[in-house]
């Protein structure tokens, strides 16, 4: 793998591989040249990978079939916002997704803590159960879930949708949290117990407080699942005014034709929030989590 060969040491985040034998020449010509080679390589890969996305973006800025505009235009975005409920859908998606993220973490973190610290057969059995039960594909679960939720008045309603998203992210999220908690030494909690903290107190005050990267990873996983889902939404949501964005995209697919420019404009709008989230949280992922602060455990 050429990536390995070109790997380069630096003082910040840890490398996959050190630049063998030449630690002192890291800023030399050779090092710089390697740096530009890697830049060219990643630029090429990124360009190829993004072709399908560029198609989407270009079309979002292309005038629609009934438009008089030429060249680059913003009117698709204008018409999506003025003629459809796109702003409502955006709001619904944000509410549903953020609620999912908050509740999923609120459910998964305590459960993950128990899986990490508990030492009984029951706990390990539960860990396996979490895994087994979520293996049934969603397409066979949607109908029974709808019938169940309809009995509780939770269909065509964002609350019901959120509960399902929390349920479907919760299993993997619990594992993710447990895996993270494993990396936090018990000694920290023991110290707090001696200070008179309860188990719950030390969980919230000591463990959670040190788990920001783990929480963020879990949150992003939940975010993307809830943000992009349409298989559940399409059965659970009916009223246009409570559609989420993927449902909004679906609504441009008619019996005989599809309004592609509107689809693409809405798709570009859909891409923005995750991009913002990733860009904002980027540094938390690159610092390598808790590793540094707890070195020497």
């Amino acid at each position: 793998m050429s990536a390995v060969v070109h790997a380069h040491p630096q003082s910040g985040p840890v490398l996959g591989v050190a630049d063998t034998g030449k630690p002192n020449r890291s800023l030399s010509d050779a090092g710089l040249r390697g740096r530009w080679w890697r830049f060219a390589l990643i630029l090429a890969i990124t360009a190829v990978v993004l072709v399908p996305i560029m198609v989407t973006v270009v079309l979002a800025f292309t005038p629609g079939p009934t438009s008089t505009a030429t060249g680059f235009t913003l009117e698709n975005f204008g018409s999506v916002f003025s003629e459809t409920l796109a702003s409502t859908w955006l709001q619904n998606s944000l509410i549903t997704t953020l609620s999912t993220v908050v509740v999923a973490v609120a459910v998964a973190a305590p459960a993950g803590y128990v899986l990490s610290r508990g030492r009984s057969k029951a706990v390990s059995g539960y860990s396996l159960l979490l895994f087994v039960m979520q293996s049934l594909p969603i397409i066979t679960s949607v109908v029974p879930l709808f019938i169940l939720f309809a009995g509780m008045g939770l269909v065509d309603n964002l609350m019901g949708l959120t509960i399902i998203y929390v349920g479907s992210t919760m299993t993997v999220a619990t594992w993710m949290m447990a895996a993270y908690f494993d990396s936090i030494p018990i000694s920290l909690e023991e110290a707090s117990w001696i200070d008179g903290c309860s188990v719950f107190g030390s969980f919230t005050k000591v463990v959670l407080r040190n788990s920001l990267p783990g929480v963020l990873s879990t949150a992003i996983f939940a975010f993307l699942l809830a943000w992009n889902d349409y298989l559940v939404a399409i059965v659970f949501l009916r009223s246009t005014e409570i559609f989420t964005l993927p449902m909004g995209v679906q609504s441009f697919f008619q019996q005989n034709q599809t309004d592609w420019t509107s689809v693409m404009a809405l798709a570009v709008i859909m891409m923005l929030p995750p991009i913002i989230v990733f860009a904002a949280l980027n540094k938390y992922f690159s610092v390598g989590g808790i590793g540094g602060s707890l070195a020497g455990r």
């Binding site: 050190a18 993004l50 030492r119 594909p137």
Partner: protein
């Protein structure tokens, strides 16, 4: 992203997990009082309720459907394991099973290799590295209804961009979605394209927790870069790797929209996976019992495969 330091992940279930590593479980015994148990119970309860509700109930319901000859609306008559027997005797099931296996293997390892390569590349100092990191996540972020359409535009007809490029290079005009073999390859490439960002984030996070000092020692011992990679880096991120494999296996086996939106399972079921077959059997042939039975068999297989990988993780953590 995901599973940042996800190293110990699944092994906990088998080990019963000692906090702070396997070395010092004894310290905790005293604290596991009835009070602690009670706290644990309350901490676990919300997830138990959700598990029963969102996963348990549909599972039981599916079990009922799979053993009856009803429809989505009526339960119908109990037929025992007849649906399972019929499904297992059908060629379509085994053909879909073979495709699912191939799709999963290519999906998991293809996305892992690409994700690993990019993660290694992105760990180094590169101009605008942060920007690339975000840009490379896009395939995972774009809604599949949209990306499948974009892919159709790129490869769907003989006049599309990619076949046109092949033609200009004198390589003929490949029909990427119309030829059964090429269609199978195309959906797998599409799946890898969607999935590699997840693998990239998983691997990036795992690499971040690797202590640099080990490389310094190794390079002093004169280890080559390949040796460092294969003998230090890979083993150090092994557990995280296994976890990402398991998760991606689930994502691939259970994947419905990727295949369904790009090829619909065709041509002539060349790209019909078990989920697509289950979906078409239930919602297009209206054979609820057999369709759900397919989903059930798939789930059982998935669990078995995962438990094998699970063991692998445990082994890797013992080493």
């Amino acid at each position: 992203m995901a599973l940042t330091t996800a190293q110990t992940g699944l092994s906990r279930a088998r080990r019963g997990v000692a906090p702070g590593g396997p070395g010092k479980p004894a310290n905790r015994k005293s604290k596991l009082s009835s009070q602690t148990r009670k706290t644990f119970f309350w901490l676990l309860l919300p997830s138990v309720i959700l598990l029963v509700l969102i996963h348990g109930y549909p599972l039981v319901y599916a079990g009922v459907q799979a053993t009856h000859d009803g429809s989505l609306i009526e339960t119908g008559e109990f037929v025992g394991l007849e649906n399972f027997a019929n499904v297992l005797a059908s060629d379509a099931f085994w053909k879909a099973a073979r495709f699912t296996l191939l799709f999963t293997i290519v999906g998991v390892f293809g996305s892992w290799l690409l994700g690993l390569g990019l993660a290694l590349l992105l760990r180094t100092k590169i101009p605008a590295g942060g920007l690339f990191k975000v840009l490379l996540l896009l395939p995972w972020v774009v809604p599949i209804v949209v990306s499948s359409t974009a892919w159709n535009w790129l490869v769907g007809t003989p006049d599309s961009l990619v076949p046109g490029m092949f033609r200009n290079l004198g390589l003929g005009t490949p029909l990427f979605l119309a030829d059964p073999t090429l269609a199978a390859i195309t959906v797998m490439v599409f799946k890898v394209w969607i999935s590699f960002p997840f693998m990239m984030m998983m691997t990036s996070a795992a690499l971040a927790s690797v202590d640099t000092t080990v490389y310094e020692a190794a390079s002093m011992d004169g280890a080559s870069r390949w040796q460092q990679f294969s003998q230090i880096t890979l083993p150090l991120i092994a557990r995280s790797t296994y976890i990402s494999w398991i998760l991606m296996t689930i994502f691939c086996v259970n994947d419905f929209p990727t295949i369904y939106l790009l090829t619909g399972g065709g041509p002539v079921d060349a790209t019909t996976s078990l989920v697509v077959l289950a979906y078409r059997t239930v919602f297009q042939d209206f054979q609820t019992g057999p369709g759900v039975a397919i989903a059930f068999l798939m789930t059982i297989t998935l669990v078995v495969v995962s438990v094998i990988l699970y063991r692998q993780i445990r082994k890797s953590s013992v080493e």
